[in-house]
Symmetry: C2
Subunit: 316 residues, 2 copies
Amino acid sequence: MTGHRKPAVCVLGTGLIGGSILRAAAAAGYEVWGFNRSEAGARAARDDGFDVRSDIAAVLGRAADADALIVVGVPMPALDAILSDVRTFAPRCALTDVVSVKAPVAETVHRHELGDRFVGGHPMAGTSESGWAATTPDLFKGAAWAVSVDPGVHAETWTQVARLALDCGAVVVPVRSAEHDRAVARISHLPHILAEALAITGAGGGALALGLAAGSFRDGTRVAATAPELVRAICEPNAEALGEVLDDALRILTAARDSLRDTDSIAQLTEAGHDGRNDYDTFRRWAITDLRPGDQEWLAKLAEAGRRGGVIESLD
Amino acid sequence: MTGHRKPAVCVLGTGLIGGSILRAAAAAGYEVWGFNRSEAGARAARDDGFDVRSDIAAVLGRAADADALIVVGVPMPALDAILSDVRTFAPRCALTDVVSVKAPVAETVHRHELGDRFVGGHPMAGTSESGWAATTPDLFKGAAWAVSVDPGVHAETWTQVARLALDCGAVVVPVRSAEHDRAVARISHLPHILAEALAITGAGGGALALGLAAGSFRDGTRVAATAPELVRAICEPNAEALGEVLDDALRILTAARDSLRDTDSIAQLTEAGHDGRNDYDTFRRWAITDLRPGDQEWLAKLAEAGRRGGVIESLD
């Protein structure tokens, strides 16, 4: 609960993430409406009682009139077109996004001269489902929601975006765009790549292998069920960082293969892998309580706190 | 339900798999008892009402007297020692095992001159937990349980082993040992290797990466929580087959890395990965109904049926 007036929220793209924000923000008491490119998707949302339309000019006109916070929830390949529309119809609104990768989004936003009131975001939530049918107001409960603290970000917009994340049930991880992109390459994009490779290798074993497959294969390939174009839209804009962690993974796997061949042992891999999973299982976020948006050097200090596992749980 | 007299069942090693068989077989009406090397583990089972002791001579003496079916549930590194004891105290009992890899177990069994009444087995079930505390009689419900149809296997012992698997709630996949080992390298051992590599790469990103990690990292590294020595005991005896599928995976990942670097695209990987996961999601076992143990060429015919996704759901 916040004692502050909530801005109106306009969500562009009502798929799994954008649609779930629409639902969560409505449940938290925000005035919300949205845009969806496909009229069928817009109608599905309207059938559930949400004001979602496929007329971008009307949707953004209302945002401009209400000085709404605009949330861009389209995949990366659709970003350029939607920002052109924002520039045309609502150039002075506060703006955030929920696209996976952050530095390329920020670049594109600045190219459209929409950087003044922009703060990038990325809720770490999702399923292998997509579209309005998969949306739920609970998607972000307890999730981490990265909110950019890049140099130049304004405290007022940042606070609006962070409050929206908190009101959706998430905790806020303050992070610089480039560091975010390197981190998610490790813990979100690489898992997709490995899942695809495992699915291919497993299915290569035919009916016998698929018939014997159990929990380790099911869980290890879960995200390979995601639509291929969505995986591409998430991973490809982060090609540089993903390439680096993929090289790391290839070095680790090649060393394991060589060790298995030369010494029949994968001791080093299993010890280090167990340690890594243990680091994850025992990781505890800590609450940042002594920093407020607008404080002296707040952006650098929040970036440093986020780097060390700090999150914002409340802004009151 | 079977109308046949159930043999007594003696389980050697009452960890997650062996202990769960003890529970499931007891629930299905078998007379069961067992051995556990550690007295603490044996006591834990006794506290739950099961006759499990750490005196191998006494446990196997009872098996010899009762002409019990012996189930070897120790990890591969402990196999040699336990088979020496079986050879000493109960050399004429029917014998099966639930060790992951099949060809090396069969070799070891034959080296101990225990091959006459041996039929290898492998229930495809497990969790990242281990030990008696993790056991449950429901572990095998609906699971695939590989049962060897290697040349030389006797129909009577095979039927006893297959019936035990069915009575524990599993379906039986008839498979030759070498083919089993190549298949599980793909769908069980490779998932472990990739999970370890992902855990290492993710944890390498420190607090920021671990704090942003969500479902894809959690599921992709789940089996890296397994005790390292257990992963080694499962994977290392299958070094040859695992090495080959690891090479396959390295080729796929290297091609993806090169494609990402040269063309900013992972289209080929995501399409093929999605197809592979779809093969898994749409795979349906079919029931083998026209083959019975002891029929003309039954071993070859069951092997061929298993290769095509056939399972035995009943022997009545």
